[in-house]
């Protein structure tokens, strides 16, 4: 597969406000329409979508889709192996004119030049070997308070007897001003030493008492097989352990940094701590907002579901999709000031009789508005027929009551950042069900906007304080498909860049 670019206009209904001049960046993947094929979501091809937004009534929105060649920046590995250098179909990190797009778990970040929308390089800082032929890296980078430095981790992946192990952990700092890099070795905390769980979905930066720190959300996905299954049948699942957060003091005088655990996180007993936003502007501590998916994110859909239905009887089943949650998730607020921390959480099942309360099934995105007073979260909901029985059966203590649980619709909800309470009102302006999970906050206080996007539903714009009325809606069938063979499932993330 070679890199290719597709350009087209969306059909816009409504108005694109003047403040929305800019670009929206989305990392998308593809799924084959043929349900008989097994294609693991980590490994599905990446399409990087850039939506250039020009204000007006109706305005203009132009899409440029870059199809990524996962082998483009590698001359040392044969293309025949399943271990590509970069397959960035998940995360988007942006600084100035540079985009770093990432996978959920596998491969190195791909650096893309934003104005030309062309890939520059894959950031492979850890060498791969025959024994450890694949890399893992942070999906969502940390940025320092001046947005000069970006931080992420990388490690090599080695197939062990029962699981994949992470080795050669490093922290990488990219300097946006000079283009240079700094690499530190990373030593795990002594009380979180199991190398099969050392993967980190997101990172954050903060300062405290004049020192600089990096926080790493240790997601803890356990992957049994480095290569995708040859036969997608039920298999033994090694259960995940509760997530933790590693804290690392950044010290330029050292070549190796040692992590410690952020207190109070492991005790929450949540699985798959993954996405975050942070307010560290005080330069003395931080307020972290993050979510636990309560899903075994190292697995994927295949095999018989929890109702005993084989995949061929389940039309919504595509083998290798992202896994469903075991139960409703948790949104976390962690405040640390002068070394003292306080924790608040939001977690709620779906009650169809009281939809105005919202729910927390499979939290995906989490983002503060420009004032840091409001927190926006998207939740993917639940598709009970897509939960494989071989995954659920190792989590009998955690899994929802399958005799009563039904489909739970996706949800977008606004919270008060100070205490994580939903921002209730009588007009239900604070929540919207059946929304796409990818969203981006744009604009500046007092008029923030919120974009939502999925290939099928298109691009929608709301005022962030009112989800009861769309400001503009733009669609195109070319967002939905790659040629006739693949469709693009809902991407998880989107980032807005003001022009």
């Amino acid at each position: 597969m070679n890199s290719e670019t597709q350009v087209f206009d969306l059909y816009v209904r409504g108005t694109v406000p003047a403040a929305m001049s800019g670009s929206l960046i989305i990392a998308a993947s593809r799924r084959h329409k043929d349900r008989q094929r097994f294609l693991r979501w980590h490994d599905s091809q990446a399409d990087l979508i850039k939506l250039d937004v020009r204000p007006g009534k109706p305005g203009r929105i132009k899409a440029t889709i870059l199809s990524v060649d996962p082998w483009k920046f590698c001359n040392t590995q044969p293309r025949a192996t399943p271990f590509y250098p970069s397959q960035p179909n998940h995360g988007v990190n942006i600084d100035g004119h540079t985009v770093w797009a990432t996978n959920l778990l596998f491969g190195a970040p791909l650096e893309v030049d934003l104005p030309s929308w062309k890939p520059r390089r894959a950031l492979r800082m850890v060498p791969v070997t025959r024994d450890a032929p694949q890399l893992s890296s942070t999906s969502h980078f940390a940025f320092d308070l001046d947005h000069r430095f970006a931080y992420f981790h990388e490690s090599a992946l080695r197939q062990g007897e029962r699981t994949v192990h992470m080795q050669d952990l490093v922290i990488i700092r990219l300097d946006a001003k000079t283009g240079s890099e700094r690499v530190w070795g990373l030593v795990p905390p002594v009380d979180d030493a199991r190398s099969e769980v050392h993967n980190f979905h997101s990172a954050f930066y903060f300062e405290e008492n004049g020192k600089r720190f990096l926080g790493l959300l240790r997601t803890g996905a356990v992957v049994e097989s480095l290569a995708q299954h040859q036969i997608p049948s039920e298999h033994a699942v090694v259960p995940m352990q509760p997530s933790t957060i590693w804290i690392v003091e950044l010290d330029d005088s050292q070549s190796t940094l040692t992590a410690s655990l952020l207190p109070g996180i492991r005790e929450l007993d949540g699985l798959a701590l993954s996405h975050l936003d942070i307010d560290a502007s005080s330069r003395n501590g931080f307020t972290l907002y993050a979510n636990y998916k309560q899903a075994d994110v190292g697995e994927e859909t295949h095999g018989v579901n929890v109702y005993g239905e084989p995949p061929e009887h389940v039309a919504e089943h595509y083998a290798g999709m992202t896994v469903e949650a075991l139960n409703y998730g948790i949104v976390l607020r962690y405040e640390r000031i002068n070394g003292v921390h306080s924790i608040r959480t939001f977690s709620r099942p779906y009650n169809p009789k009281r939809t105005s309360l919202g729910h927390s099934w499979l939290p995906i995105n989490i983002e503060l508005d420009s004032s840091k007073q409001w927190l926006f979260c998207s939740f993917a909901g639940f598709h009970p027929r897509l939960l494989p029985t071989h995954v659920a059966k190792v989590y009998t203590e955690r899994v929802a009551d399958l005799r009563h649980i039904r489909h739970v619709p996706p949800l977008l909800m606004r919270f008060r950042a100070v205490d994580l309470t939903p921002d209730y009102d009588d007009q239900r302006t604070y929540l919207s069900y059946t929304e796409p999970i990818a969203f981006a906050i744009a604009g500046t206080c007092p008029e923030d906007f919120l974009w939502t996007f999925s290939p099928e539903n298109g691009l929608k714009l709301y005022r962030s304080h009112d989800f009861s009325q769309v400001v503009c809606h733009a669609v195109s069938p070319y967002l939905m498909n790659w040629r006739d063979s693949h469709f693009r499932p809902d991407p998880a993330h989107m980032v807005f860049v003001q022009s």
Binding site: D9, L10, Y11, R13, G14, K33, D34, N305, V306, Y307, E309, V314, A315, E316, P349, N351, P352, K353, R354, T355, S356, H383, P384, R385, L402, R403, H404, I405, R406, H407, V408, P409, D426, R428, S432, Y433, T434, E435, P455, E456, K460, F467, S468, Q469, V470, H473, V475, S476, P477, Y478, M480, N481, R483, D484, F487
Partner: protein, 279 residues
């Protein structure tokens, strides 16, 4: 949805209108939560779209969809609802375009698909009592008035469409012989439904929501365009493409057949959302 109160005569109707208004007032005061108006829950889901044969005509400025829908239902009266753009033109009008396309492509339409042939006999019916809803209140009022009820998750789909500036259209339909058995619902086919709206791009339809009878939808969809296109269906495989000559001119065609899942599916033997469950 199945309508448990399709029509009521005279003074009784005035009373039901008043009571339905009161129910909706309570619903609005309670942020559209069903807990204070449990009577709004649909009592038993018993209607679904089983199959669709659709011709989409796109000329670069507008889309026109001509559809033959095959519905299944348990009960005597039903309604079919769906969102459309507010500047759409909805018509129930005789057309032979579905047959003309199939004839030109040497196809039997839905009968090409074994899943459809397995359904058995289908009765031809006609839609009637066409309605348009501009607000969630209007829609909910109508559902209460006709004792159709709704499910909170389904209603949220309409909330999203109304927020995006769409309107909701509804058509009623009835079989000559009603079914009382979920395993053998009455199958009804209605052609002649067409909707046309301005757009510069091809726009596909949303997936139907699960109505308790058919988890999947059987499709035969043909896209006709005045210029050659490579637009694909989001889920269905391409089964043919080329040029086609119809009564009103020549078109490029792309044809997509197959099965898609409904939205809102649940496990086997799991009840629909209902007033009795405790949370």
């Amino acid at each position: 949805m199945a309508l448990r109160r399709p029509s009521v005569e005279g003074p009784e109707f005035a009373r039901i209108v008043r009571e339905s208004n009161e129910t909706i007032r309570k619903l609005e005061e309670n942020r559209f939560d069903f807990d204070t108006v449990p009577e709004l829950f649909a009592k038993d889901a018993a209607a679904d779209v089983f199959a669709k044969e659709i011709v989409h005509v796109f000329d670069g400025k507008s889309m026109t969809r001509h559809g033959r829908l095959v519905m299944g239902g348990v009960g005597t009266h039903f309604n079919l609802m769906g969102p459309i753009p507010p500047n759409a033109k909805l018509q129930i009008t005789p057309t032979t375009i579905l047959e003309d396309v199939s004839r030109a492509l040497k196809s039997k339409g839905l009968r090409d698909l074994p899943e459809y042939r397995k359904l058995g006999a289908v009765e031809e019916i006609a839609f009637y009592n066409y309605e348009i809803f501009y607000t969630l209140r209007d829609l909910a009022f109508w559902l209460v008035l006709h004792d159709a009820g709704s499910f909170p998750s389904s209603l949220e789909v309409m909330v999203r469409h109304i927020a995006a500036g769409n309107i909701v259209q509804s058509n009623q339909y009835s079989p000559r012989k009603a079914s009382k058995d979920k395993r053998k619902p009455a199958l009804m086919a209605a052609g002649c439904l067409s909707v046309s709206f301005p757009t510069s791009v091809v726009e596909w339809m949303d997936k139907p929501i699960y109505g308790g009878l058919a988890r999947d939808t059987i499709h035969v969809e043909t896209l006709l365009t005045t210029k050659k296109t490579d637009v694909s269906h989001p889920y269905l495989p391409l089964v043919g493409e080329g040029k086609i000559k119809l009564k009103d001119g020549s078109y490029f065609y792309r044809r997509f057949n197959g099965i898609t899942p409904k939205d809102g599916l649940r496990g086997p033997d799991i009840r629909a959302e209902n007033a009795e469950d405790r949370y």
